[in-house]
Symmetry: C2
Subunit: 431 residues, 2 copies
Amino acid sequence: MSLVRVNTAFLHNFMATHEVTALQEQVTSIHQMLHSTDAPDFTGWVDYPNTLNTESLHRIQYVAQEMRNNSDIVVVVGIGGSYLGARAVIDTLKPQLFQKDNNAPEILYAGLNISSTYMVELLNYLEGKRVSIIVISKSGTTTEPALAFRFLKNFMDKSFSPDDVKKRIVAITDEKQGALRKLADKQGYQTFIIPDDIGGRFSAFTPVGLLPMAIAGIDIHKLTQGLTKAHKHLNNHNIEQNEAYHYAVLRLILNRKGRDVENYVSSEPNLYYLTEWCKQLFAESEGKDNKGILPIAMTFSTDLHSLGQYVQDGKNIMFETFINTGKPTADIPVPTLDGDIDGLNYLVGKTVNEVNQTVMHATALAHVEGNVPVISLEMDNLDEESLAYLMYMFMKTTAMAGYLNGVDPFNQPGVEIYKTNVFKLLGKPGY
Amino acid sequence: MSLVRVNTAFLHNFMATHEVTALQEQVTSIHQMLHSTDAPDFTGWVDYPNTLNTESLHRIQYVAQEMRNNSDIVVVVGIGGSYLGARAVIDTLKPQLFQKDNNAPEILYAGLNISSTYMVELLNYLEGKRVSIIVISKSGTTTEPALAFRFLKNFMDKSFSPDDVKKRIVAITDEKQGALRKLADKQGYQTFIIPDDIGGRFSAFTPVGLLPMAIAGIDIHKLTQGLTKAHKHLNNHNIEQNEAYHYAVLRLILNRKGRDVENYVSSEPNLYYLTEWCKQLFAESEGKDNKGILPIAMTFSTDLHSLGQYVQDGKNIMFETFINTGKPTADIPVPTLDGDIDGLNYLVGKTVNEVNQTVMHATALAHVEGNVPVISLEMDNLDEESLAYLMYMFMKTTAMAGYLNGVDPFNQPGVEIYKTNVFKLLGKPGY
C-alpha cells in the first residue's frame, strides 16, 4: 500500500486524463531502463533499500550511541547532499523550534558556507563543550567542507587528547581514494563509506544521512522499513499505480504548458528543510540544458502574508505541490475569549490544526481560482516510515522526470562551471 | 552620499545604456507624483523619516529598556509586515547563529502561522520564564496573530499578576479603532500607533519595527540617521543619481526581456530575514494584474550546491540581485594543514571572508556566462545606518517599479481572495 496519495482534484482546469495516459509508453520504457541490469551510472539508490543489511545498520547505531553518550554537540560538516538529507529528516521528525531535545546532543552544521561570521560564532560556541564531528565528503577537497574541517580539526586537536579525538571524529567518504580517505586513515578516524554509484542528492539513506539521524534519535530501522515499502510499491511501470511516476508526469505536463516554477508548500515550519532537500534534488537533477522547473518553497500561512499576493494574482508561471503530512506532532484546542473582541469565537470547538488544514484547503481553492494548478500529496501522518517513503518517492519522481524531459538526471555540469571560475580567481594551482 | 552603489558591470550583455535613459521621463513624472502634496494613499513612509521626532524615539527606547530589564523572552506577535522588518534588522545586525545574546532578552515570534506544533512548543518553552509580549495588528482580527494572542494572553494572565501583565503586554495598533485597540484600552495595555498612511510592508521603521529592534539592542537613533540620509539622497528624479530608481529601471528592463524571477543573493546566512523582508516588499507591491517579478532568495555558497545547477544551466527565466554587504561582523584567517592533504594551502594568507568574496565574484562571472544577468548592490559595511538606508531604498525602488509597470504598489487585492475563501470554509459569521 502506498503511504503517499497524489490528489489531482485541483488539476481539472489544467489538464485532461488523456494527457497523462499518453505518456505511459515512454514511462514504461524509462522504468525498464532504470531497473535493468545495465541501468545508467549513479542509480545505486534505486535498489539500495534491498542492500541495507542489519549489520551495517547496527554499526551505525553503535557509533551513534557512542556519540550520544559522549557529546553535547555533534557538528555535521558537509554541503549540499552531504547534510540536506539528514537535516530534512531530523528537523521534520524532531521539531525543535524553540528548545533542544535534552536526550540527544545538539546537531549543528558546518562547511555549508564560507561565512567568516558563521565560523567565528560556531568556534566560540563549541568552546568548553563535549564536541564530536562527522565530516562528509566524497573527495575531501570540496572547498567549503574542507575549509571548515581545517578549523574544526584544529579545535579538536587543541581541546581533546589524541585518543579522544579519534573517537570523536568520524569521516564518511570514499572507500579507497580521495583526500578525506587519506587523512582519516592517517589520523585513525572511524569511517563510513559513501557508495560509488549514489550521487550526493540521492544519499540521504546511506551512512551520509543515517549516522546523523541516528544521533538525533531517529529510528533508522523504521526508516529502512519505509524505504523497503517504497522500493516495492514504486517498482511498477503503471502511471496510475505508481505515485512517483504519476507525480512526475503531472509536473511534466504542467511544465510543458508554461509552468516554469514549482512551489513546494507545507503548513508546518518544521518541514522547512524537507523542502530545502526537495529543492536540491529537483533543481540539480532536472535544471540543465536550458530545461527544468525552478523549485521554490513556502510555508503557509506565513508566506500567504508575503508571497501570497504574487501567487494569487501575479504572472502565471507557477504550479504548486502541497505536502500535506496529516496528523501533526502536537495539537491544541482554540481557546475562548470573553466578549469575543477579536471575533474568533466562531472557531471554538475546533483545534488549531483543524483551522490550519482548513486554511490550506481554502488556499488551494483560491489559487486554482487564480489560475494556479495545485498538486496535493497527502499522507495520514508523518513518522520515520512515511517520511522515508516520501523521500524515496521524490527520488524516483525526479529520475523519471529527467529522462522524460530528455536530460540526464544524475549529473550536475553547471556546478562544475562555477567551481572552475572560483579556482581560477582564487589562484588554485593548475587553474 | 549614497551608502549603496548599484554596480552594472555584469549587465553589459543584457541591455544598453539608452534603454535606461529612455525611461527618464516616466521616472520623473512618477517621482513628482510620489512627492507631491496629493500623493496617493499609503505613501506616508516616503516622508516618514522627517516626522520621526526625538520624543517618540525616546518613548520607544524607554519601553524597550523596561522590557529588557524585566524579560527573559519577548514574543513578537504579528504576521507579514508586522514582524519581517524587525526580524530582518535584528538577525542581520545581531547575528545569533548559535548562541543568544546574553544582554538582551530572547526575541521569539508568534502569530505568523497556524501550526499547532509550533504553538504547543512555544507555550512549553515560555513556562517559568519572565515573558513579555508585543502584539502587532492594525485590526486585531487577522486570524493568525489574533489566534496566537488568545493563547499568549491566557498564558500571561495565568503566569503574572494583573498589574504585572499590564507592564508586560504592549499593543501596536490603530490609533482609534479595531479589535486590538479596544482590547488594549479595556485591559490597560501600553500601546503604540501604526500610522494610517503606511502599509504593513512599509512599516519597518515605525514603532512596529523599532520597538522589537530596540529591545534586541539595535541603535534606533542610528537607524533613523540612515533613513534621513536615504530620504535626502534618494529624493532625486535623475535615474543616474538615484540608486533606488536606477535599480527599479534595471529590474523593469530585465523583466520586459522575459526575466520573470529575481533571485536575491547574499553570502552571509544572517541576511536570511533581510531577503525574506525583500520578498514580501517586492511580491506584494508588484505581483498583481498578471504582472510582476517573482522574488526568491538564496544564500551562497550554500545554495550553489543545491540550486546552483538550475541557475547556471536551467531555463533562462531569472536575473539575480547580489546584496554585497562589505565588511563582515567577524573574520578569521585560513589555517594551514600539515601535508596539505586537502590541497587548500594555496588559500593560506587569505581570510575566510576574502575567500567568500572571491567565490561571490567568480559566481557572478559564471552566471553571466550562463546567460543570467546580475545586478550587484554594494555597501562598504553593514551597520544600523547603512541597513536602514538599504531598506528605505528598496521601498522607493518598489514604489517606482510598480508605477512603471502600471500597477498600484500599495494594495494587495490577492491576499483578500484567499482570506474570503478561508472565512467561508471556516464558517465565519457573515461569509
